[in-house]
C-alpha cells in the first residue's frame, strides 16, 4: 500500500495540494534517483586531495568501477594507485537498498581478502574528511526525508530537504540537502553529527552530463567545520557502459585488480 502511494506521488507533479513535507521530500529523492537510472556501468579515476588547516596537501589516487544493479544497491570496486604504501589495496562493496552493505578489503601484501564490518561506516575513509557512508551508494531507502523549503543556491533554484539516516550506526543525526530543480542534482549537503552540531559541508562543483543524461560532478569538496580540514575529490575520465558484468565484481576480481 505504501509503495502504491509512493508511486502515485511520483507521478504527480510537485507542489500539488495534500502533499506533506515528508511525501514531497521522498518524491524529490525518488525523482533524483529515477533520473540517474540506466547508466549500466561506470569506470572513473579519482584524485583525493587532503588539506589540513595549514593548507598542506596530501594526494591519493584511486580507480573506481561500478555496476548498476536494478532493484538493489550498486556493486563497486575501488583500487588505490597511490600513495605506494596502499597501492593495490582494494575495496569491494555490494550495497543494498535494505539491510547492510557487504564489504571486502583486499590486502595485497598478504594476498588476503578480508570481509569487513560495514557497520563501521561512520569512520573516516583513508584519513579523509569523507566517512565510508558518505561515499557509499546513496540509495533512496537509506534515509527518511522531509522537504523544508525552496532556496536559490549559486543561481540555481533548489529544493532544500532534510534526510535522516535509517541506520542507527550512522555517524549523523541528519543531513540537509540542496537539490536543483532543473536536473535534480545534489548541489550541497550539510552533515550534522550525533550531537546535532554542524560537522561538515559537501559541495558539488562543475557538473558534466554524460551520455546525454547522467550528471556527474567533476569535483566534490568536503569541508570539516570542526577541524578546518578539507578533502576534495576530483573525478576524471568517466566512462559509462563499458561492458562490465558480475565477473568484474567478486572476490576474485578484487584480488586480480592492482
Amino acid at each position: 500500500m505504501k509503495n502504491l502511494l509512493v508511486a502515485f506521488l511520483v507521478l504527480l507533479p510537485f507542489g500539488l495540494a495534500a502533499e506533506t513535507p515528508e511525501e514531497k521530500g521522498l518524491a524529490i529523492a525518488e525523482e533524483a534517483d529515477r533520473r540517474d537510472q540506466g547508466w549500466v556501468d561506470m569506470q572513473v579515476t579519482m584524485s583525493m586531495i587532503l588539506r589540513n588547516a595549514r593548507g598542506e596537501e596530501n594526494h591519493r589516487e584511486m580507480r573506481l568501477k561500478s555496476l548498476e544493479v536494478p532493484e538493489d544497491g550498486d556493486k563497486s570496486i575501488m583500487v588505490f594507485d597511490t600513495p605506494p604504501n596502499v597501492q593495490g589495496t582494494g575495496l569491494l562493496t555490494f550495497s543494498h537498498k535494505v539491510g547492510d552493505d557487504d564489504q571486502w578489503l583486499y590486502l595485497p601484501a598478504l594476498k588476503r581478502v578480508k570481509r569487513i564490518a560495514s557497520k563501521n561506516k561512520s569512520g573516516p575513509f583513508v584519513g579523509s574528511e569523507f566517512a565510508f557512508e558518505d561515499l557509499s551508494s546513496q540509495e533512496v531507502e537509506k534515509y527518511s526525508y522531509k522537504y523544508l523549503r525552496d532556496e536559490s543556491l549559486n543561481g540555481l533554484d533548489c529544493f532544500v530537504s532534510e534526510r535522516l539516516p535509517t541506520d542507527r550506526y550512522s555517524g549523523y543525526t541528519r543531513q540537509i540537502t540542496w537539490i536543483d530543480k532543473e536536473h535534480y542534482r545534489v548541489q550541497k549537503v550539510d552533515y550534522y553529527d550525533r550531537k546535532d552540531k554542524l560537522l561538515k559541508t559537501l559541495t558539488f562543483n562543475n557538473y558534466q552530463q554524460y551520455l546525454g543524461k547522467f550528471w556527474r560532478a567533476d569535483s566534490m569538496m568536503m569541508v570539516n567545520h570542526v577541524n578546518n580540514k578539507s578533502t576534495e575529490l576530483l573525478w576524471k575520465e568517466y566512462s559509462f557502459q563499458t561492458g562490465l558484468s558480475d565477473r568484474d565484481f567478486n572476490k576474485n576480481a578484487l584480488q586480480r585488480t592492482r
Binding site: N58, T82, R115, G127, E237, Q241
Partner: protein, 646 residues
Amino acid sequence: MKLRLPGSLLALLLIAAPVSAEHSFEVLGSFLEPETARKEGSRFVAETGLEILLYETPVGERLQYRLLTSIPQDPVYVDQLEQRLAQAGLADTWTLRLPDELPFMETVFAELELVDVNTVAFAAPQGNYIVAGSFREPGRADALVERLSLLNPVSIVRVDVSGASYQRVLVGPVAADEEASVIARLVAQGIEGAWVLRSSEEVVPYVQENQDITPELRGLRMPGKPATPKAPTPVREYEGDYNPAKLKKKSTPFPTPGATSKSSSGEPGRWRTDIAPEFRIFNDPGLNDLDEFYPSVSIQTEYYKTWNGGSDIFAFVPFYRWDGQDEERTHFDIRELTWVHVSDDWELRTGIQKVFWGVTESQHLVDIVNQTDNVENPDGEEKLGQPMINLSLIRDWGVLDFYVLTGFRERNFPGEKGRPRLPLLVDDSEPVYESSAEQYRTDFAVRWTNYFGELEVGLSHFSGTSREPRFQADLRTDEPGIPGEAVLIPVYDVIDQTGFDAQYFVGDWAWKLEAITRSGQGDRFSAATFGFEKTFVGILGTRGDLGVVAEYLFDDRGEDAPVIGEDDVALGFRYTVNNPSDTTALLVWLYDVDSDEYLMTLEASSRIGASWKMILEASMFNGDPESELGFFQDEDFIKLEFIRYF
C-alpha cells in the same frame, strides 16, 4: 515509445552496407589514369561519405579506371544513396552489374589534404556523427583521435566494404545545429574534409565484436587525455529503459593511469620496485652468544601486465634479501610468476604465486598452500612462492578452487649466526621426506568459499607434503670419528588436512573460527582458533579507530604440540590514526594459559613523504628461564625498517 532493436539493426545495415548477391554498383566516373581516378575518388569519398571502390577494367584496347559504389538492396537506402550523390553534384552516374565472382577492387580513401568540401548540415531527427577521417591502417585512425581536442566524444568504428575493412573516426553525436561549428573546429585544427554521417534513423556506431580490433580501437576517447579504453556510446534516448543483456559486451580493462595504450597487445606492462633497509637490535647476546646488531636490506620488484581487455594477466615478483649477519637469511625467491586467464565463471592461474586462506588474526591454521618464509620473519606471515595450477570456478553456490601444487618448497631456517633461532641449529641441507618423490611430489588442494548475508564460510582440504616439519635430533659430523654438533633435521610427512573457517557479523562484532584436523603426522590431531574482532570507530573523540581482537588458540596435542598456540589466548589492539600518513600500530599479547609465559609484539608503521614508509617492530618474550622456551627470553629485539618505493 520507439522500438529500439530495429533502429539499431537499420543503422547496422546502413553502416556495414553488405554487398548484395546481385553485385550492383553505381558508376560515378571513368578515368584513363589511375592517379586521376584515385584523386577524384578521394574527393567523392569525402563529399558523399560513401564507400568508393576503384575498379580496373579493359574497355576496347585500353584500361579504364572506374569509381564505383555498391547499391544497397533496401529501396530506402537506394533513395539515400541517390540523395547523397545528388548533393555531391554527381549527376551522370549509371548502374553496373557484375558477375558473382567479384573482381579485385581497390577501396578509395579520403585524402584529408585533398579535400575541400562545404559539408551541408542536414536536419536529422537525432544527432549525427561527423566523420573526421577514414583509414585502412589502425595506427592512422588512432593518430587522428590523438590529434582531436574537442569536447565531443570521439570513437573509432570499423566498416567493412566488399571484404576490405577500414576505420572511421567519428565525432559526436552532434546536434544538427552544431555540425557546422564542429567541422569548423576540425578545420581550425588542420583536419579538413570532415563530413556528416547522416541517416533518418538513429545511428549507432557499430563495432564488430569478433574482429581483431584492439580494445583501444573500440574506445571512446576524450582527446588530449591518456587513451582510455571505452566502448562506443550507443546513441539512444535514455528514458530510464534498462537492458543489460543488450549492452553486454566484452569487458574492457580498467584504465591504468598514465598509460597511453597504443599496441594491440593490451595495456603496457608496469614495474614497481621497493627497496627496504632494516636494522634489528637484540637485547642480549643470547644462548648462542651472537651479535646484537643485524643490518639487512631487501628489494622487491613487481611487473604487471594485462591484455585481451583484462582477460589475461601476467605478473612477476622477484624478491631478494641480503643480511649482514646470517647467510641463511640472505636469500632470493620468486614470490610470483604467474599467468591468469579470466573467463566469465572460471579463472585459471598458472605459475608461481601466493594464496591466503582463512579469517583469524593470531595464527593461520587453515592457510596451508604456501611455505612460510621463516627467515624473513618468524611470525609466519611471510610466504615463499608456490608453483601451481589453480582452477577457480565462480558459481552461484560459491567459489570452488582446485589446486595442483607442482613441487614442494622447503622451509628455510636461520643459520648459525641467525637470530632469533632455536638453541639447536636446524640443518636443512638433507631434510627427510616421507614421499619418495621428495620435493618433487605433486600435492593437491581444494577449497570452497561462499557467503550468506553476514556469514562467510570456507571449507578446504589439502593432501600432500606438510609445510610444517617435525624435527629429528642428529649429530652433525664433519669428520668420521670426531663427535659432532647436535642439530635438528626437518622431517616432512605426507599429510591430509581438512580445514573449516567461518566469520559471522553480529552488528559490528566479527566472530571468527578456524578449525583443522590433520592426519599423517603422528596421530590424527585437531586444532582451532576462535574469537572476535570489534572496531571502535572514533575512539575517545579522536579520528582514530581501535580494533580489538581476542582469540583462543587450541591444539589437542597439548604441550606436545610443536606450535605456540596449544592452549593460549591472544589479545590484539590495532590503532588506526586515520591521518594522511596512514599511521597504524598493532599490539599483540599472546599468553600461554598453562605456563604463564607470554609473547608481546608491537608493529607500528607510517608513511613519510610520498614514497617512504617506516616500520617499527618490537618483540618481547617473558617466561620461565628453565622452561623449554626459556632461551627465547634473550631474543627480544627491536626492528626498524625503511621502505623506499620507486
